[in-house]
Symmetry: C2
Subunit: 380 residues, 2 copies
C-alpha cells in the first residue's frame, strides 16, 4: 500500500475516528468513516463519510471498495459481515474480524485467554439466577455480574454486594452472563500494544483511574514498581498474541498485591492510550495507521511523564455543547486540549480530553493540576 496515497476505511466516526483522521493527514493517508450520525465527530478531519448503521453490510462493502484497508473504532462491528466484505472485495480488514469474534463474547474471551495462561480474576458462566447463586457460593461476595455481550463503559456490569442483591442484579442482566470475583485492586493499569505483523511495540504501562466505570484520568508511566510494569507488559502481549491481525490493542488490567490480572481488551486505539499523542514518540493513532497499512511501526518510547483527564458531559440533561473555561486550561503550562467535536453534551458523554506532558515533571503534580484544570471547565 503506497503512502502517501492510501485510503483507510474506518467503521465508526467518533472521537477515535477523528483522532485517526488527525494522524492520517501528515502521512498523506485519506480516511473515510462509516457512521450513522450526521455529521459524526470525525467529519471535519476525514476525507469522506458514508452515513449508515454500523451493521449495514452494503455500506461496509461500499466503504471497502473505496479503500486499501478497512479498520474499525468500535467493537460492535459485526465480524461475520466484515469477513464477508473482506472476502468479496479483497480489501483486508485489520485487526482481523476473527479478533472481534474471539472477544465479542466476554465468556469465550476469558476462556480463550485463561487457556493461553493469561492470569485473571476467577469467573463462572451464569445463565440463570440459580447459576448466579451457585457461583457466588464459591466466589463469595461482593462480585461483578457481567453480560456476555454488548458491555461498554460499565454498561452491562452490575455489582452483587450480598445474597440479598442477587435477584435485583440478575433482573438487570437477565441473559447470558458471567460472574467474576470482586478484585480489591491497588491500581488499574493499561498497556497499548502495536502489532505490526512481523514486529510488535508496547507502550509504557499506563495507570488508569475510573469512576462509575468510566475512565477519568490516566498517568503514564504508571506509578508502580518496575516488576509490576514488567508483568503488565507480559500480560498485555500474551493477550494480543491470541488476537489475529495488525493494529493497536488496548489491554486493561488490575494490579493486586504486586500481581497483574487481566481485565479486558479493545482491538483498536483506546482512551487509555490518548496520552501517546503528546507523551510518546509515535501516537497510538499514527501507530494504528502504520500497522494496518503494513508500514514499519514507529518508536513507542515515552517522551516524559504524561497525564490525561477526560472531559465528560457534566450535565443533567442533553443540551448543545458549549464548553467554558478553555482559556484557563490552555494557560496551564504544557496543557493541550483534544476536543471531539460533539454538538450535544449528555450526562457522562466523552466530550474531549486534556493532556499535560513534560519531560521532567512529577506525575502526582501533573495529575493534581490536570484535575484542577478539568474541574474548572463548565458547560455554558
Amino acid at each position: 500500500m503506497n503512502v502517501p496515497g492510501a485510503t483507510v476505511g474506518c467503521v465508526g466516526g467518533g472521537q477515535l475516528g477523528r483522532m485517526l483522521g488527525e494522524a492520517a493527514a501528515p502521512l498523506g493517508v485519506d480516511v473515510v468513516v462509516l457512521d450513522p450520525s450526521s455529521p459524526p465527530p470525525a467529519a471535519p478531519v476525514v476525507s469522506d463519510h458514508v452515513q449508515a448503521e454500523f451493521d449495514d453490510e452494503d455500506a461496509m462493502r461500499e466503504l471497502a471498495e473505496r479503500c486499501d484497508v478497512l479498520t474499525y473504532e468500535i467493537e460492535l462491528a459485526d465480524p461475520d459481515a466484515l469477513e464477508r466484505v473482506e472476502k468479496e472485495t479483497g480489501t483486508p480488514v485489520h485487526p482481523k474480524p476473527e479478533t472481534l469474534r474471539k472477544i465479542e463474547d466476554k465468556l469465550g474471551q476469558n476462556d480463550l485467554l485463561r487457556d493461553a495462561g493469561v492470569p485473571m480474576p476467577e469467573y463462572r458462566r451464569v445463565d440463570s439466577v440459580e447459576d448466579l447463586r451457585d457461583a457466588l457460593d464459591v466466589l463469595g461476595y461482593p462480585a461483578m455480574l457481567k453480560a456476555r455481550r454488548g458491555g461498554y463503559d460499565g454498561r452491562g456490569n452490575v455489582a452483587v454486594e450480598s445474597p440479598d442483591d442477587v435477584e435485583r442484579a440478575w433482573s438487570e442482566i437477565a441473559g447470558p452472563a458471567l460472574v467474576e470475583e470482586f478484585v480489591e485492586y491497588d491500581r488499574e493499569l493499561a498497556v497499548m500494544v502495536a502489532d505490526g505483523g512481523d514486529e510488535r511495540r508496547s507502550y509504557a504501562v499506563t495507570e488508569t483511574v475510573h469512576r462509575e466505570e468510566i475512565l477519568r484520568e490516566s498517568v503514564s508511566p504508571a506509578r508502580t514498581t518496575e516488576e509490576v510494569r514488567r508483568q503488565a507488559v507480559d500480560v498485555a502481549e500474551a493477550v494480543v498474541d491470541e488476537l489475529p491481525g495488525r493494529g493497536v490493542f488496548g489491554v486493561e488490567m488490575f494490579e493486586v498485591e504486586g500481581r497483574v490480572l487481566y481485565n479486558e481488551v479493545a482491538p483498536r486505539p483506546h482512551n487509555s492510550g490518548h496520552w501517546t499523542i503528546e507523551g510518546a514518540a509515535t501516537s497510538q493513532f499514527e501507530q494504528h495507521l502504520r500497522a494496518i497499512l503494513d508500514l514499519p511501526l514507529g518508536a513507542a518510547e515515552t517522551r516524559g511523564p504524561t497525564v490525561t483527564a477526560n472531559i465528560l458531559g457534566d450535565v443533567d440533561e442533553p443540551r448543545e455543547a458549549d464548553l467554558q473555561g478553555v482559556g484557563n486550561l490552555l494557560a496551564s503550562s504544557r496543557a493541550h486540549l483534544h476536543w471531539y467535536g460533539k454538538r450535544e453534551v449528555r450526562p457522562l458523554r466523552k466530550m474531549g480530553h486534556l493532556t499535560l506532558s513534560s519531560e521532567d515533571a512529577d506525575r502526582d503534580e501533573l495529575l493534581e493540576r490536570a484535575r484542577e484544570v478539568r474541574d474548572r471547565l463548565s458547560w455554558g
Copy 2:
C-alpha cells in the same frame, strides 16, 4: 472568541494552511481557507475552501464574514484589501495588515528595522544600473541584488560576483531594488517568535541549511554558542516588536564571526519552525492559532534535539506526485513524515518534510540520518 467553536479564515491554503488545519482540529477550531487552486493542499483537513485569487477582495470579505478572525499564510496578501475587509466586516486580522505593509517593500523593511537598532548587513537603495555600480563601489564584490517586492524562496535575488556581472544582474531585476553586502556567514539561524499581545514566547534558535536559497534542513537547537543563541533571540524579538498584531513570526538571520545579523522575516508560521511539531511543547501552528484567537500562548520549550529535512520536487518536469521510499523513512527510528498533499511534483517544489526528534540524540547524527533517509526517497 470561544474555543471550541471558533472559525479561523486563512488567506492561502498551501502546506502552511494544511498544518494549521491539522493543529486546529484538537482545539475544536474550524479553518476555512481562501486559495485559487482546486483543491488546495489544505483541503482535506480544513472545514471549507473558498476558491478565489489571493487578491480577490470580495472573496476575502466573504471569508471574513464567516470567521471570527482572519489570518494569512502568504505574504502576497494585499494589506490594503485586508484592512478594508477588517474595517467593513469587523473581523480582526492578525498579524495586522500594517505588518504586511511594513515588510512588503524589502527596502522599507530594512530601513524600519535598522532605525529600530536591528543589526543587519549593509545595503543601498538601487533604481538604476548606475546606482548599482555606485553602491558596489562602496559595498564591494560579491554582493546580492534584491528586488524590493515579491521575492520568495530566492526568486528576485541575484548575486553580483564582479564588475563584469553588473549589467547582467541588473537586467534580471530591472526595477526598484536594493543591493546588500555579501555576508560570509558561518551559519544561518532562525527564531520563531509568538506574539500573543500581552505575552511573547520565543522558540529555541534553529539552524537552517539552504541550497539555491531554498531551505533544505533545519537543526534545533542550533549548533552554536549560548551567546550567539542569546543574540539571535534578541534580534528576532526586536524585529517582532516592530510588527503589529498577534501570531507567530519567523525571523531569519546570519551568524557572522559570533555576531548575529538580520536577514528576513515572515509574519506567519515558517518552514524553519516545522521542527516544533514534534520538537517543542507547542507546535508553531497551535501557537499561531492560540495567538490569533487571543488565547493563552502555549509553552515554547524544546522537547529534545530535532532535525527536519525538506522533501523537494527532485524532478526535471512536472508530473503526478508519487513518492517512493516512505517505508524506509518510517523505519528510521523517531522519523515522522509530513506530506503536503500536492498532486503534482515540480522541480524544487516543497512536497513535504520529515522530522527526526529525540530526547537524547546527537544533532550531527540526526542530521546525517535525516539526509540519508530523504535522499533515498524518489519519485515514481
